[in-house]
């Protein structure tokens, strides 16, 4: 019996980790600046490619993954400086600009790298509970997702940067008047967001085929999680991921991946009818 319970938990953890890791970066950028980064998938792709490239050079996997996340973060800061910065007053245009960027990056990668890159296998290791065997790496991913949430909690709730960032989020003009360098806060937040996207790509790189269009595999999950979650990562994205993971897990188990995805989308469309601002609006209101 406990084996069945663990199996359900394992499936839930798998989907939950996927949702959190793919959505966290997008949610931070949206929460701080009200901007949806349409090139989010391309930062995920970037993280995956850097990881695989470094591993093929002989760098140990965990170090390669950290370096990949850092690379994506730095590229993100650059992109913020060159492009996104101009559009904080025009959020819809930022959507278009980053989408243009996404097209350029994906298609250039197809031109330059081509479609085939030698992948790295999933790290081996499995364990058995009852009669079932489970992959250890999937649990590592779940651990990483929880660690990301914990890390974000510490950064935004316990550090000086976090205080200023939250102040900027609530009222950018006032924060600026009080001496916060909001431009720099935005750049760093964007960098954290894209760095998390890179981390997502880095963590999933061993489990999937690398193609320049792989970002598209993640964007639906990240979009719907952010739509349901709303502007707050900790109070919105996390509960949204729990909720969506339960729906998806139930449908995946009985009907397969694609029905799981469709079910998730339908749930999201039904929910925005009643909660257009996302779960965080409800939870934040309750908390006050």
């Amino acid at each position: 019996m406990s084996a069945e319970v663990f199996s359900v938990f394992y499936q839930f953890a798998d989907v939950f980790a996927f949702l959190i890791l793919s959505a966290a970066g997008l949610a931070i950028v949206f929460g701080m600046m009200g901007v949806i980064n349409m090139a989010h998938g391309e930062f995920i792709m970037c993280g995956a490619y850097v990881t695989v490239g470094l591993v093929n050079l002989g760098v140990p996997l965990p170090i390669a993954q950290i370096l990949a996340a850092v690379t994506a973060g730095l590229i993100g800061v650059l992109v913020e400086f060159l492009v996104v910065r101009r559009f904080y007053k025009r959020p819809l245009d930022s959507l278009l600009a980053t989408w243009g960027l996404s097209l350029i990056v994906t298609q250039s990668m197809l031109l330059i790298v081509g479609s085939a890159v030698r992948g790295i296998g999933t790290p081996e290791g499995s364990f058995a509970v009852g009669g079932y065997t489970f992959s250890t790496y999937r649990l590592v991913l779940f651990g990483c997702a929880v660690a990301v949430l914990a890390g974000l909690y510490v950064i935004f709730m316990k550090t000086r940067f976090g205080v200023i960032a939250r102040a900027t989020m609530q009222n950018a003009a006032m924060a600026k008047a009080l001496g916060a360098r909001t431009g720099r806060i935005y750049a760093i937040s964007f960098g954290i967001g894209t760095g998390l996207a890179g981390l997502c790509g880095a963590l999933y790189a061993p489990t999937m085929t690398l193609i320049p269009t792989m970002g598209a595999t993640f964007v639906v999950e990240s979009f719907v999680t952010v739509v349901i979650g709303g502007a707050n990562v900790l109070l919105g994205t996390a509960p949204a991921a729990v909720f969506l993971a339960m729906i998806r897990m139930a449908l995946n188990a009985s009907y397969g991946q694609i029905i799981g995805q469709i079910g998730m989308l339908v749930a999201v469309i039904l929910i925005i009818r009643v909660l257009p601002e996302g779960l965080s609006s409800v939870l934040v209101r309750r908390g006050r």
């Binding site: 009200g34 949806i36 492009v83 101009r86 559009f87 025009r90 959020p91 819809l92 245009d93 959507l95 278009l96 600009a97 989408w99 243009g100 960027l101 996404s102 097209l103 350029i104 990056v105 994906t106 298609q107 250039s108 197809l110 031109l111 269009t213 598209a216 964007v219 639906v220 979009f223 719907v224 952010v226 739509v227 694609i258 995805q261 469709i262 989308l265 999201v268 469309i269 039904l270 925005i272 009818r273 009643v274 909660l275 257009p276």
Partner: protein, 356 residues
């Protein structure tokens, strides 16, 4: 009723404009007499996408609703046409299949639009929810390769796409080649003029008022949600028309015309052209499609990189659109040369008094 062809919501007025319109139309009608049938077929291919662009122009430029879901409805109607044409057995029934598939796309738009608009989600989320739905449809159709995925005798065929449906047919006459071209030209003229009348009518004014300020429009007593839903259904229905015509044109459709990067294309055309005017969208989309097709022959990726670069350049340099900007410059220059600068202001004043 024909007075509505000109008005405050559309650029282009007066004899000069309509003379140009007739010249272009005459050129379009005469074109198949001079070109070989392969070129005419290609030309018809560009025209297929114009409906989708005009629909997006209506939703985004006039209604302020940035839908990323044009290819979603394109796909619904495109696959819808295929399934219906195969199941209803070709012949004149294909006309019914065309109509029904567009109706199907509009119903889907009505349902999706109801939840989004009555839920009251804002500009950005409107975009990403429609895009999510689009991508999910593309993923779904992509994995329908197995023989168990069929509707009647119509196999969906996964990534390889659906084929085997008849093109549009009347009796024994297949509407292909230059016949299809003439049908497209006629449809574009009808849709273009009808949209001009729509946006200059009372309904169009409410649509524009909602874009400018939803609260204000609501305070004036309009249920803006109904107008938004109407706009969304019409705009998406036009994408559906493109989809059904596309399937009929090539007698096949694949999920790749729904997912990325196809979903970005209508956005690029309309943004580059100038979303706030139907004529600019019509001209700009045609030019971009022509350019895109020319480059695609050499490298599809390079053409798509160029599209991305155009989108980025448009929002950074000319957020109102390049074609519209150039058109306005030319118009100002012509007017300025004819009558001097003071008259331009007088012209604007006249426009105001006409409205009131």
């Amino acid at each position: 009723m024909f007075k509505l062809l000109e008005g405050p919501q559309t650029l282009g007025r007066g004899r000069m404009f309509w003379a140009c319109f007739l010249v272009v139309l005459a050129g379009a009608l005469a074109y198949p007499l001079f070109a070989d049938s392969y070129d005419v077929g290609n030309f018809a291919y560009f025209l297929i996408w114009i409906f989708m662009a005009l629909g997006l122009c209506l939703m985004w430029g006039y209604g302020g609703m940035l839908s990323f879901g044009q290819t979603l409805f394109f796909g619904i109607a495109g696959y819808g046409y295929g399934v219906l044409a195969i199941n209803m057995g070709g012949g004149t029934a294909t006309i019914a299949a065309l109509v029904l598939s567009v109706v199907l796309a509009m119903m889907a738009a009505g349902i999706l639009g109801y939840f989004m608009i009555w839920g009251g989600i804002n500009g950005i989320f409107f975009g990403i929810v429609t895009l999510s739905a689009t991508l999910v449809l593309a993923f779904f159709l992509g994995q329908t390769a197995g023989p168990e995925w069929h509707i009647g005798p119509a196999r969906l065929n996964g990534f390889n796409g659906m084929k085997g449906m008849d093109p549009l047919t009347v009796g024994d006459f297949y509407i292909e080649g230059s016949a299809l071209y003439y049908v497209m030209v006629a449809l574009i003229v009808i849709v273009y003029l009808a949209l001009r009348m729509l946006v200059n009518s009372g309904i169009g004014n409410v649509i524009v008022a909602t874009r400018e300020n939803p609260q204000r429009a609501e305070m004036l007593g309009y249920d803006v949600r109904k107008y938004q839903l109407l706009t969304f259904v019409i705009g998406s229905g036009l994408a559906g028309l493109s989809g059904a015509l596309y399937t009929s044109w090539g007698q096949f459709i694949t999920p790749s015309s729904i997912g990325l990067p196809a979903a970005a294309m209508p956005i690029v055309w309309v943004a580059f052209s100038g979303r706030s005017d139907l004529t600019a969208t019509l001209i700009g989309s045609f030019l971009l499609l022509f350019g895109f097709q020319t480059i695609t022959v050499y490298s599809q990726q390079a053409a798509l990189v160029l599209m991305g670069a155009l989108l980025l350049a448009t929002v950074m340099l000319a957020p109102q659109g390049f074609v519209l900007g150039i058109g306005k410059l030319v118009a100002d220059w012509l007017r300025g040369r004819r009558r001097g600068d003071g008259d331009v202001v007088a012209e604007a004043g006249r426009l105001q008094s006409e409205e009131s």
